[in-house]
């Protein structure tokens, strides 16, 4: 009975949301978006500060942002402040998880002794996954991906190692340091930009030719830092979740 009432309520609500959204002619229908009505059009031509008519892969150089991946250019350049906030969200969540679960002592996996295949396999596969992750965030400005998936991959590699190696927990504190280091450096880069050019998180390096690996100014650096930070934060979250209560 309750379910039906809720379904009816949500049905009515959904109807109004649909009609509220789609009866508005200014809300362009799915697929019919005209970028000229949006701020994104300047992101495509990279002409927020410099006027560019056209940007060509492998040819245009020294643009306001050198990333071939538009999403990356937004994430790390145009809206890099959001990204800083995003990293902070992850940071604070991992901190919260640590505050809640960090006091627990036991380890979830301690009962199941990892078998030989897992141990060896984990050790062999760890560098591969980690390298892929690093590749992803270093190439964030060229290919899909970037700091977050890259960092997550590192985290999953660490997770694997953690599951396989019982003595690995002792080394976890270094991740905290890495997290702290990466986060601080991210902010310091921003402050450096502020000091040199008057804008926080300014892209103070030359951007080079679009499509080159070392072309996007601070983007690769920031993405490496983001990747490291995200990786260590996610590692922290997961290891905390793998703890269990021990009876005192």
């Amino acid at each position: 009975m309750k379910r039906i009432a809720v379904i009816i309520l949500l049905g009515v609500l959904g109807f109004f949301i649909f009609s509220g959204i789609y009866s508005n002619e200014a809300f362009t229908e799915f697929g019919n978006v005209d970028l000229n009505n949006r701020v994104s059009n300047k992101f495509i031509t990279k002409s927020v500060t410099d006027e560019n008519d056209i940007v060509e892969f492998g040819k245009s150089s020294n643009l306001e942002t050198g990333s071939a991946n538009y999403v990356t250019s937004i994430v790390v350049n145009y809206r890099s402040f959001d990204t800083l906030g995003e990293v902070t969200v992850l940071f604070i969540s991992s901190l919260g998880v640590a505050l809640l679960l960090g006091t627990l002592g036991g380890k979830l996996t301690h009962k199941y002794r990892a078998n030989f295949i897992l141990r060896v396999g984990a050790k062999t596969i760890f560098p591969l996954i980690a390298l892929t992750g690093i590749y992803i965030f270093i190439h964030g400005h060229l290919t899909p991906g970037g700091g977050f998936p890259g960092g997550s991959m590192i985290a999953s590699a660490v997770l694997l190692l953690y599951l396989a190696d019982e003595n690995f927990r002792a080394k976890m504190s270094s991740f905290k340091l890495a997290e702290s280091f990466a986060g601080s450096l991210y902010v310091l880069i921003g402050i450096f930009g502020l000091l040199t050019s008057g804008y926080f998180l300014n892209n103070f390096m030359n951007t080079g030719v679009i499509g080159d690996l070392f072309s996007a100014g601070i983007i690769p650096i920031v993405y490496v830092l983001v990747g490291l930070k995200v990786g260590s934060e996610l590692t922290g979250i997961i290891t905390d979740f793998l703890k269990v209560e021990v009876d005192e």
Binding site: V12, L13, F16
Partner: protein, 608 residues
């Protein structure tokens, strides 16, 4: 001396008194006497300040004749009551704060009466309310303070609404200017009139706002009840005066329906005043606690005052202004005698006391005088003023109101007699055999106030001349007084003759009392029934359920207290409902609300 300095002096004297009290409590209490007396003298001598304007911070003041008159009464009551403060310092929980708030509220009342703009008026009004609110719970009841504050804030918020409304229309806060536009807008004027006067009604204790008086007056510290009853209640009269005198009520209502020549808006309030007289009198008769009894008599007297002020004419208004003074001193004196008794006996219940005349003769005389004045019996001041009010009403043919006033006078005999017989006369309870009479310092203010009651009863001209000047200053005909003969349309009152007649009667009865043989005194415990000794003689004391047969007549009367109590309970239930409806540990409850509200709002706002 400039009144600018007077107000500053009063504020600083409050602070100074606090500091003195911190080092020596007794000294602090004496400082309240000193400071209030100094203020009284400054004010009394500074009558030539009338008409002056001055300002402090963002507050503007204007000394008017009526404001001066009200302030004088207020400081008089405060300074007289202050004589009792030293004796209560050990008994009060926060003596220094008490002294501070005592003088501070006094300063605020004076500021109120001299306010030149409505904001200043409101500021001081609220300051008086909150500073006195914190004194009340030091006495016997915590609830009293809450009820007092709540009812006061009902009034003050209504008044604030009126003030803001007037400002939004006229663009000024100046008391004399702000209301002017209402003269030509009867409908708006009706609204403003009723909202503005509400604060006054709550303060005077007009039905149905009267319930705070017995609670607060009856339970406040004994040294503060006189101030509450004699002093602060009169602030309400001042607001009532502003509502008809400054707010052009009669002019604005000139086109509206009239009852007996009075615009129905004003007549309605007069009816409320009449109801207060009846209710106050009936309830006063019932009370066993003397302080509550006097508090209810204040309700009744508040009715007289309101009616008189609302008339805004030659006779009734003058009577009302005079009654403000008479009631202030009489009720303060009555409360002071109770305080003096309570100082020795620790109780104010009539049924627990008796025979106090033997122990405290001065208190007895003072009480007798003041309660006679309160009841409006000649030859005290209260009689003159009530006579004026009734005269004024009768001359206008306001039969119902006059009847209520008459009823109040009759009823007042009943409630005057009860404490007189129960408290002072009769047998002394054995446990009070050894109590001492009240101290000299306590006697001073009692005697002063009582003699003022007598004096102005016999020579009202000194008061009425001042009142006449006030009446002239606000543009109505002054009361006609020639020597000690007051002339109204319907009659003439020569107070000297009245006093002489009563004096003669008094002498005769005194002689009879002295000549006739004395009756035998029976101790309170000396009671037998069917030859058996009674172990609970208190219950058989005649002061216990004094008017039982009469009270039975209106035992199950409807009561505003009960109604408001129910209202408070309902509010609490509503609060619990709010709590259980919206606040749960389950997110689904809130999410459901969100979705339901969103649906409702989209239903109204989305074009389909």
């Amino acid at each position: 001396m400039d009144f600018n300095a007077l107000i500053l002096f009063m504020v600083f004297s409050a602070v100074l008194s606090y500091l003195v009290s911190k080092s020596n409590i007794k000294l602090g209490a004496y400082s309240t006497i000193l400071f209030s007396l100094i203020s009284l003298i400054i004010l009394f001598l500074g009558r030539n300040n009338i008409g002056n304007e001055f300002s402090l911070l963002y507050m503007n003041f204007r000394v008017t004749a009526i404001g001066w008159y009200f302030s004088l009464i207020m400081i008089l009551i405060y300074s007289m009551t202050a004589f009792f403060n030293p004796y209560w310092m050990e008994k009060i929980l926060y003596p220094s704060s008490y002294n501070f708030l005592y003088l501070f509220s006094l300063a605020a009342t004076v500021g109120l009466f001299f306010a030149a703009d409505l904001i200043t008026l409101f500021i001081f009004w609220e300051v008086v309310v909150w500073s006195s609110t914190f004194i009340v719970p030091l006495g016997k009841s915590r609830k009293a303070a809450v009820v007092y504050f709540t009812i006061s804030s009902i009034g003050s918020m209504a008044t604030l609404f009126a003030i803001m409304f007037v400002y939004s229309k006229s663009g000024t806060f100046d008391i004399n200017e702000a209301f002017k536009f209402l003269a030509s807008e009867p409908l708006t004027a009706t609204f403003v009139f009723f909202t503005f006067i509400t604060a006054g009604l709550t303060k005077i204790g007009i039905f149905p706002f009267h319930i705070w008086l017995p609670l607060a007056h009856g339970n406040a510290p004994h040294t503060f009840s006189p101030v509450l009853s004699g002093g602060l209640v009169k602030m309400g009269a001042f607001i009532a005066y502003l509502s008809v005198g400054i707010l052009p009520a009669y002019k604005a209502f000139s086109t509206s329906m009239t009852i007996m020549g009075i615009p129905f808006q004003i007549y309605l309030l007069m009816v409320l005043g009449a109801i207060s007289i009846v209710v106050g009198t009936l309830m006063a008769i019932k009370q066993d606690d003397v302080k509550k009894l006097i508090a209810y008599s204040s309700v009744a007297n508040g009715g007289y005052i309101l009616i008189g002020i609302l008339m805004m004419d030659q006779v009734t208004f003058a009577g009302s202004l005079m009654h403000i003074f008479n009631h202030a001193i009489a009720s303060a004196a009555a409360f002071l005698t109770i305080a003096a008794i309570a100082h020795r006996t620790k109780t104010t219940k009539i049924s627990e006391l008796g025979g106090m005349i033997h122990k405290m003769p001065v208190s007895y005389v003072v009480y007798l005088i003041s309660i006679i004045s309160l009841a409006g019996i000649p030859p005290m001041g209260g009689f003159v003023s009530k006579w004026l009010i009734v005269q004024g009403l009768a001359s206008k043919g306001l039969i119902f109101i006059a009847f209520a006033a008459f009823f109040g006078s009759i009823g007042s005999f009943l409630y005057v007699f009860r404490p007189l017989a129960g408290l002072f006369l009769g047998q002394l309870a054995p446990k009070y055999e050894n109590i001492k009479p009240s101290t000299l310092v306590m006697k001073i203010p009692m005697v002063i106030l009582a003699s003022m009651s007598v004096f102005f009863g016999i020579f009202p001209k000194y008061l009425l001349e001042t009142i006449g000047e006030i009446q002239t200053s606000i543009g109505i005909d002054p009361i006609m007084i020639n020597g000690d003969t007051i002339t109204t349309i319907n009659g003439v009152l020569n107070t000297n003759k009245v006093a002489a007649i009563f004096g003669f009667g008094f002498v005769i009865s005194l002689m009879i009392f002295l000549v006739l043989p004395k009756s035998r005194k029976v101790g309170l415990m000396d009671t037998y029934t069917s030859a058996e000794f009674i172990y609970t003689p208190e219950l058989y004391h005649y002061a216990n359920s004094f008017y039982a047969p009469f009270e039975r007549l209106y035992k199950n009367h409807p009561s505003v207290e009960k109604f408001l109590g129910k209202f408070a309970v309902k509010t609490e239930e509503l609060g619990i409902l709010v709590n259980s409806l919206f606040f749960s540990h389950k997110p689904s409850v809130t999410v459901l609300w969100v979705m339901a509200i969103a649906t409702l709002i989209f239903l109204g706002g989305v074009d389909i």
